[in-house]
């Protein structure tokens, strides 16, 4: 096929491995489709070079739209996107030099594995010998050596996604964007491919931006997570920071289980919930809870202890009476489903050897004061 646009400056082709990552910076990014609420509503985020950043959130939270804005598939309503300081806001997708993985793999069905992987190199006018060498190299990286002449339909889902991965990194892209790439795979394969993606992130060293609605996937893969809600970023931080120090009730609920006590008044040195009053450690009050009108106290299930009566609770710790409504045996642990005063449901995670509790039993739940967290709601 003849070249269709010789005037176009082609993006440079970097080696597959050992490329320093690129910084991606989003500044006040807005995408408005003219609906009641903008799909992306003022998102600012800096993704550091070589970082594995996950955009996490429920469906419709704007995470995929944000990824599409980075890729250039959608145009910005306002705001800026820059790669290593260069504004790319108005650059078409084929000039952004990004690799991309899709949920349905998006392999070209009329091309073989080798032709699929060679596609971005051919577009960049890489010499033939070089293409052959690189395709072999990257297929080895994703452990698909020898499958060159298969067409995608002959491969399993996991293999197809590995071909897509090879195709997306073979030209040394600025960054790799992953749009729920594991969503179509079954559980076992997903785990295997997660490990693969992590390994390739380590070996290639480029910036990865990963979109998912699966919090476990986000926790296990990411350096940092940007949690999306209603087109805005709720909180950015390491998986541990988000889990241990949520700023808002949304974050606390989206990442892991929580016992939630909605507070009637702003937190001071103590907080009041129904007829109980608990002391708080100022370090466990989130910044946004301090500023917010409404707050909630959250405790993770693994931090909740169960005592048979008030007397057995250590002195000075927050406690609340509860009724056991269910005990679930889950192999390595037991989950006790509790009903607190006023019908508020909660959970405690206990050791699997705990067998004393019976359904309907009245108990007292307690936790250490430093393990509770006050968040805004």
């Amino acid at each position: 096929m003849p070249a269709t646009s010789t005037s176009t400056a082609r993006p440079p082709v970097a080696p597959v491995v050992a490329r320093a990552g690129t910084q991606i910076r989003l500044t006040d990014v807005v995408k408005d489709y003219g609906l009641a609420v903008p799909a992306v509503d003022g998102v600012s985020l800096t993704i550091e070079p070589g970082e594995f950043m996950t955009l996490l959130g429920p469906s419709g939270s704007g995470k995929t739209t944000t990824l599409n804005l980075i890729a250039g598939f959608e145009t910005l309503t306002s705001g800026h996107i820059s790669f290593d300081g260069d504004d790319v806001s108005s650059l078409p997708p084929h000039k952004r030099n990004l690799g991309m993985l899709f949920q349905n793999y998006a392999l070209f069905p009329h091309m073989t594995v080798a032709q699929n992987v060679a596609y971005p190199l051919r577009e960049r006018k890489v010499p033939k010998a070089e293409i052959t060498r690189r395709v072999a190299e990257v297929l080895e990286l994703v452990q698909l050596t020898g499958r060159d002449d298969n067409v995608p339909a002959q491969l399993s889902g996991g293999q197809q996604q590995r071909v897509a991965l090879a195709r997306a990194i073979v030209f040394g892209p600025t960054a790799l964007l992953l749009d729920e790439p594991l969503g179509a795979l079954d559980r076992n394969l997903r785990g295997a491919l997660q490990a693969e993606i992590q390994r390739i992130h380590r070996e290639v060293g480029s910036t990865f931006v990963f979109v998912t609605h699966d919090q476990e996937e986000a926790m296990s893969l990411s350096d940092r997570i940007a949690l999306f809600n209603n087109g805005k970023i709720e909180q950015v931080g390491s998986p541990e920071a988000l889990y241990k120090a949520p700023e808002t009730l949304f974050t606390a609920r989206f990442l892991g289980d929580s016992n939630v006590f909605e507070l009637a008044s702003a937190p001071g040195s103590t907080v009041a919930w129904q007829d109980r009053s608990w002391t708080v450690d100022p370090g466990t009050v989130s910044d946004r809870a301090r500023a917010a009108a409404q707050a909630a106290l959250v405790v993770r299930p693994e931090d909740v202890h169960i005592a048979p009566s008030d007397d057995a609770v250590p002195p000075g710790v927050p406690s609340v009476p509860a009724t056991v409504t269910d005990v679930q045996y889950l192999g390595s642990y037991r989950t006790v489903v509790l009903s607190y005063a006023g019908g508020v449901a909660g959970r405690a995670r206990l050791d699997a050897s705990e067998t004393q509790l019976a359904v309907g039993q009245a108990v007292t739940a307690w936790w250490r004061v430093e393990r509770q967290r006050v968040v805004s709601r």
Partner: protein
Amino acid sequence: MTATGSAPRTDVPDAPPARPVRRRSRGVDAVPWWLRLVVAVVGLYFVLPTLFVIPMSFSESTTFSFPPEGFSLQLYRNFFTDPVWLTSLRNSFVVALVAALLATVVGTAAAVGLHHLTGRLARLARTVLMISIVTPGIVIAVVVYISFLKWHLVGSFTGYVLAHAAIGMPFVLVSVTSALSGFDSKLLRASASLGATPLRTFVRVTMPLISRGIVTGAVFAFVTSFDEVVIALFLRSPTFQTLPVQMFNSVTFEVDPTIAATSSLVVTAVTVVCLVPLLLGTRRKNRQES
């Protein structure tokens, strides 16, 4: 071999077959004899004219007669030695080729463009573009004739091509649209992310994947133009006429039995052209299965 489990054949060794055997899944009930009869009668009805005309084309007689008298290639000799027939055949062929090319380019572009649009305007545009399929040929012919008189296109090669491309284009639109319905538009994004311009993406991704629709549409456009007679009658001039017009003349003015040979040739040619997408399709399928 035994995918459907019926009629195991013990004489076949269980070495893998060279090509996977695909067995058509049958309904539960056997096809009754009367239904077979109806099918046979309908089929016969369609091929009967051809069955008459082909033997007649080998007749020795200088008038129309059936059954044919004797056997000779006289009528074919008439056809291939008469410059009037040959010129009109060439005219028809060139017009059909150029018209089909034009219709294919425009129809494919329209189908691809409309595929990405979903609004009411797009639906309206699609309907308007297809309207010539249901418009009576004579209406189109009159309209074309009046307009072309004004534009001095009557009797010209350009006139034929434009008119025939216009009536062939909807067939391309239909076949390419149906080919696009199985096309995954995520591939366009994948291609763009890999550095291909929209035009390169169309050439390397979209076109190969909808090629069957394009070829089918092109064949229909070609055949539509090749045997189109109503518009051609209006547009004919002493210096330029197509084969169907010459055939019409030969029957109405001359009662020339050469038309039997001509018809046989046209039937054969059109059948061969129509088989092209079919052959293309089976070849691709075989390649995918191997």
